[in-house]
Amino acid sequence: MTLLFAAFFLFILGALLAVIPGRTAARAATLLGSGSAILGCLFGLIAAGQGLIAEGAETFSLPWSMPGGAFSLRLDGLSAFFLLLLFIVGLAGALYGAEYMKGGRERRRPGLHWTWYNLLILSMTLVVTAANGLLFLFAWECMSLTSFFLVINEYDLTEAVEAGWTYLLATHLGAAFLFAFFLSAGALSGSLEFASFQVLSQLTAPVASGFFLLLLVGFGSKAGIFPFHVWLPDAHPAAPSHVSALMSGVMVKTAIYGLLRLSAFLPVGPAWWGSLLMAIGIIGALFGITMAALQRDIKRSLAYSTVENIGIILLALGFWMHSRVNGHPLAAAFALAGGLIHLLNHALFKSLLFLGAGSLMHGSGSRNLNRMGGLMRRMPVTGLLIVCGGLAISALPPFNGLIGEWFIYRALLESGTVLSGLAGFFPLVLIGLLALVGGMVLIVMTRIIGIALAGEPRSPEAAKAREAGWPMGSAMAALALLCLTGGLMPVFLLQVAGRAATLIDPSAATILAGTTMAPWWLGIMAILLLVCILAAYLFLRWRQGRTPVPASATWGCGFAFPSSRMSYSAESFTELPQSAMFCSCLQPSTEDGREIGFFPEARRFAFAAPDPMLTRVFKPFFRWAAEVCSGFRGLQAGQLHVYLLYIFSATILLLVWVGQR
C-alpha cells in the first residue's frame, strides 16, 4: 500500500511538474511528465504484484472532509489484477509517448498532455482501489475528464473535438446511471462504504435486477458494449496512440472491473442476467469485427476490434453468471477464467497494436491504410512486433490470445456437450458464432498487415518511412514479449486470473486452482510448435545453401510494370466478405464511379463506413429531442405583459393550491 501511495505521489508530482516548463521547454516537460509516470508505474507494478501474491485484502481508510465520503482504499486480488494491467500498459505508454510526443503535430504542448496522462493513470488507480462510493464516482468522473482532455489533444481539428464531445456525452450519460446506483445503494445500506454494501445481498430479485441494469448501462457506456460503443471508434483515432492504447487497453476495462466489483454485492441473480450479457456480447463481437473489416483508418479498425473483444469478454462473463446459476460450476469457472484472461491479454496485445499503429502513422504520416504499404521493409522492428500483435489478437498459437479464447471455448463446450435440449442449444450456437468471429479477426488482421506492412509503398511518405527510435520500439517489444510469455506459460495467466476470481466467485477460484493440466498442455503445444517451425526453417536453410538468393521483380502474371496503384487496396480486400456475409445495414456507403460509358471521363470513388448506430439511431434521436425542446421557445417571447401575466397566474395557482390543502 505504501508503494501505491508513492505511485500516487509520483503521478501528482508529474502532473504538476509537467506544466511548469510551459510551451518553451517541451523536451523538459516531456522528460518530467513521462519520467514520473514511468517511475510511478514501476512502484505501482510492485504494489500490484504484492497484492496478487498476498492472500486476503489490504485496506486503508482516511477520513475525508466530504459529506458521505471517506478516503478508503482496498487492495485485493481483483484490484491487483486490474492494477497489474493498468501499470503495464501505463508504463509502456509513458515510455512510448516520451518519444511519440516529440514529433508531429503533438509537439505543441506536451506539458499539458503529460499532466492529463499522469492524472488519468492516477484516477484509474483510484477507480480500481476505491472502497467508497463517493470516492469511486469522484475518481470515475476524473478519469472521464482527463481522458476527454487527452482525446481533444489536437483541439484545432474539428473531428477531434467532435469525437471528444461524443465521448464525454456517452460517459457522462452513463455516469448518471452510476449515480443512481450508488445513491440508491447508499440509501438502502445507510452508507457509501463498499463494506456496508453487503446489505444489498438481501435484495429481492426484481430490485436486484434493477440495480444490475443500472450497472450494466452505466458501465456499458464506458466499456463500449454494443449499443453504447459509438464513442469508441471516433475517440481512439483522435487521441495520441499511446493514449488510445491506455484507453482501449485499460480504461475500457475499468468498466468491467466496476461491473464485477459491484455486481458482486448483489445477490446471485436470475439466469437472464447472464443471457442478457451473452446476447449483448456476441452481437457486439460480430458487429465490432464486421465494422473493423470495413475501416480504412487503421486506428478506427483497431477501435472496432476493441468493441469486438469487449463483446467476447462480456460473453464469457455472461456465460459465467448463467452457468453459475444453472449449477455448472466447471463451465462457470472456465468461463470466468476465460473472460479474465482474455481481458488481460487484450490489454496487452491491443495496446501493442495501437502503439504499432502509432509508429506506422509516424512513419507514413497517415492513418489511412491505403497511404501505407511496404512498411515492413522500412520499419522491420515495428513490422515484426505488429505481426506478433496480430497473431496474438487472432488467438493464434504460440501467443497469449489463444489461452483466453481456449478457456472460453472450453467452458462453452463443457456445458454444450453435456446439456441437451434448449439449454445446450445456446452454448453451441455461441461456439459457432465465436468461431465465425475468430475467422473474421483473421481477415481483419491479415488485411491490416497485408495492406499496411506488406507490398509496395502506396504513398511517397510511406516510401520515405523511417524506423521509430528505441523508446517506442522497446515499449512495443516489452508488450510483445509479454504476449509471447503468456502464450508459452499459460500457467501464470491462469494463476493471476484465479487470484482475481477468488473475490467474485470463490468456488470457481478453487476449481481453477485445481485445473493444472490444461495450461501445461497449451504451453507444451506452443513450444512444440516453435520447435517444428524452427526445424522447418533449418531444413530450408540447409536446402537453400550458402548461395545468396537472387532477387527480381514480382511476377506480375505477364504484366511487366506492376505498380502499387494496381495492388490490392484495403477496400478490395474485404469486398468478398462484404458481398458474401455482411447484412445490408452494415454495408458501407460507396460512391462508385466504375461504370464506363463510351466516352468515360474522370470519375472518383468515395468510400465511407460510418457507424450505423450513431448515424441511424442516436443522432436522429437527439435531433428529434432538440426539436421538441425548441418547441417551447415561445414561452420566452419577449413580451413584458406576458411575463407579468406569468407572475400573477403563478400567484393565483399557488393560492388556489394552498387553499385546497
Binding site: 414561452l635 419577449g638 413580451q639 413584458l640 400573477f648
Partner: protein, 214 residues
Amino acid sequence: MDNYNPANMLLLLVILFNFFLLGSSRLNACIRTVAIQGGILSLLPLFLHGFSGHSLILAGGAFLLKGIAIPFLLLRAIRQVHIRREMEPLLGYVPTLLLGTLATAGAFIFSDRLPLIEIHRGSLFIPVGLATLATGFLMLITRRKAITQALGYLIFENGVFIFGMLLAEAMPLMVEAGVLLDLLVAVFVMGIVMHQINREFSTMNTDQLSSLRE
C-alpha cells in the same frame, strides 16, 4: 363601525378613481388621478389611528411622495419626452373596464369569506385594497406605454398601502419611510429609463421592447 365612515367614503372614492383610470384615455389625467388617489390614501392613517405623531408623519410623508413628488416626476418625464398623450391600450377601454368591474365585485365577495378579525369585518379596506391591486394589475398588462406600466405599478403599490393601513402599528416608522423612499427611487429610475427609451426608440411604446427573446 361608524368611526370608519369617513375612511369608507375615501375608499369608495379610491374605487371610483380606479374605474376612471381604467376607462380614461388621457395620460395626464391618469397621472393626476393617481396623484389624487395617492393623496387620499395618505389621509387614511389620520382617520384610522387618530392624530398620533406616528400617523401624522406617515400621512405627511405619504402625501408628499404619493401625492406630489412622484406625480411631479412622471409629469416631468412626459413633458420632457414629447409623446402622444394617449394610453394606447392593448386591450380596449370597455373590456378593461368590464374586467375591472368584475375584479372589484369579486374582491368584495371574496373579502367577506376571509377570516378577518372583528374590527375589520365589513370595513372596506380589504375589498378596496384587492380591487386596487387588480386595477394596477390590469393597467400593467393591458397598456402599451412604458409610463402607463409605471402608473400601474404605482396603483399596485397603492393597493398594498391600503393593506398596510390595517396594521400600521406592525410597521415601524423607519420601515414605512424606507418603503416610501424605495418607491420614490424606483419611480425616479423608471423615469430615467423611460427617458432613455424615448430617446432610443423615439416612442414609449413597449412593443419595441420585445427584441430580447428566444
